[in-house]
Amino acid sequence: MTETLLSVEDITLRFGGVTALDSVSFEVHRREFFAIIGPNGAGKTSLFNCLSGMARPTGSITLSNSQLVGQRPDQIARLGVGRTFQNLGLFLTMSVLENVLVSSHIRPPAPTVAGWWGRSKRVEFAAREHAYQILDLVGLADFAHAPVSSLPYGTRKRVELAKAAASNPRLLLLDEPVAGMNTEETEELIAHVYRLKYQLDLTLVLIEHDIHLIMDVADRVLALDFGNVIGLGTPEEIQTNPRVIEAYLGIEHGAAAEPALPTKRRA
């Protein structure tokens, strides 16, 4: 029933003397909505960097049967790992459609100027059609030709989502997709995330600070602190995990404004 898509085994990542991740292991099941929480500096984004090939940890990360550690980011993207960035990885000077088309570059073997003109045309056409389908799913088809730089922040977040989804990922990594959004915008973005998840049959891994949101959407939660796994389980289990509570309460004394662990909101 629960097929493992992503398997992280004992990965450690060090920058100089700092250990960003210390023997982290977990598995993500196919079609799961998996969340990662932890205070600032807990290693959440470092973990994403390892998963997408931008950092090289020791240990093993496998997607289905492919080893990801040691592969280049573009190779990992081809294997089916998509990602959004916390501070957006959009190509500002290009249009919404072009941003999404960037991903389509990886699908069929790329025809170059040397390729057959007719075949190139067909492939270009198919790429555009696919891009429009994705834009429809996040409600951006009307903005296809708008330059990204002309769009408000909330809409840019949706472009970022569409761009990541357009590379046909099996596993989509979302790095704080609703950071800086109000409740209404957050609900709208999460609705788009759900639509993409079901239409494209995605497995999601979400980094999020808003613990209310995680309690609402996640199937399972991984809690990190100082690069160590301090909890792994259902949102209910994580909420009552003493180490997680301590990590979050401990932060309260510090300068960082992390939310305290809230009471259960789900009915």
Binding site: Q75, A77, L90, F91, E98, S103, H105, S120
Partner: protein, 301 residues
């Protein structure tokens, strides 16, 4: 008035050559992320290889140009694979930018030496395949060569524009130039995109080199690359990353240089028109010192 139109027309033709050379630079900046001097070598080797294929092997002139473009492209791809990639993997961005620049200065000296050894230091005759006749429009005399230069430049520009705007390779190149990390995460492989950029860069440089060295009375000399570097102010004028910008910069530079040639008082000396581009370069860099920043910034840890 006739002189003015005459100078403007010659200036546009000259500007087209500057535009081609600076395109060659910009495309490489976009594809490799580093400003480098290889287009100078490309202009030089391209013109000599065309001479070799045309005058020595006896191929048709346009086949000879194609041959030169292919050879130069292969050289470029090999240089990237074996030198640039290695530097990029091992150095920080700033260090890699400087290392690449210095490496290409070295390669430039080597290509000059190879040229002198292989083809000699004397001027060679590449012929004047464009014809030396002049076409009279009103009172203005345009050489056929100038008309060819303008026509070929327009064709090259249209092809470049179509590739950059209308193909996925073009979109991928622009994506890599804007935000390399995000582009990699989207699955773009610089190794697959780069050859297209090298073909474009080599094409523009070789065509410019050939047209520069068929100039009546000029001929083919091993100092051709120095002429090519006169296009650098055009590049700076247009912003080092913008294709339309460097075309505009090239045209402005060409026309201004011709006006200087025609109108500057003789007391300024004979070399005034030749040094003018460099004076412009210095002034622009004093006003906009950031114009030269070409290295990609990596925002995320």
């Amino acid at each position: 008035m006739t002189t003015f139109i005459q100078l403007t027309a010659s200036g546009i033709a000259m500007g087209c050559l500057y535009a081609l050379v600076s395109l060659s630079f910009v495309v490489l900046v976009k594809a490799t992320g580093h400003f480098n001097l290889l287009p100078g070598s490309f202009v030089l080797l391209g013109a000599y290889l065309t001479y070799q294929a045309n005058a020595v092997f006896g191929f048709n002139f346009f086949i000879a140009i194609t041959f030169a473009i292919v050879v130069v492209t292969i050289l470029g791809v090999l240089i990237q694979r074996f030198i640039f990639d290695r530097i990029d993997r091992r150095a920080t961005q700033a260090a890699a930018g400087l290392a690449v620049l210095l490496v290409t200065i070295g390669l430039l000296s080597i290509s000059q030496a190879v040229t002198v050894t292989t083809w000699g230091a004397d001027a060679l005759n590449l012929g004047d395949p464009w014809g030396l006749k002049t076409v009279r429009v009103g009172g203005v005399a345009l050489t056929q060569r100038d008309l060819w230069v303008i026509a070929i430049t327009v064709v090259v520009l249209v092809i470049f524009w179509l590739v950059m705007q209308r193909t996925r390779v073009g979109v991928a190149m622009r994506a890599l130039a804007t935000d390399m990390e995000a582009a990699l995460i989207q699955g773009i492989s610089p190794r697959k995109v780069a050859p297209v950029a090298w073909v474009m860069s080599a094409g523009a440089a070789v065509i410019a080199g050939v047209m520069l060295s068929t100039e009546a009375g000029g001929g083919l000399r091993p100092t051709l690359d120095v002429v090519a570097f006169t296009a650098l102010p055009a590049l700076i004028l247009g912003g080092i990353r913008s294709l339309p910008g460097c075309v505009a910069g090239g045209l402005v530079l060409g026309v201004v240089q011709m006006y200087a040639l025609g109108y500057a008082p003789t007391s300024f000396g004979q070399s005034f028109a030749a040094t003018l581009p460099w004076i412009i370069l210095i002034v622009i860099l004093m006003l906009r010192p950031n114009g030269l920043i070409a290295t990609r910034d990596f925002r995320r840890a």
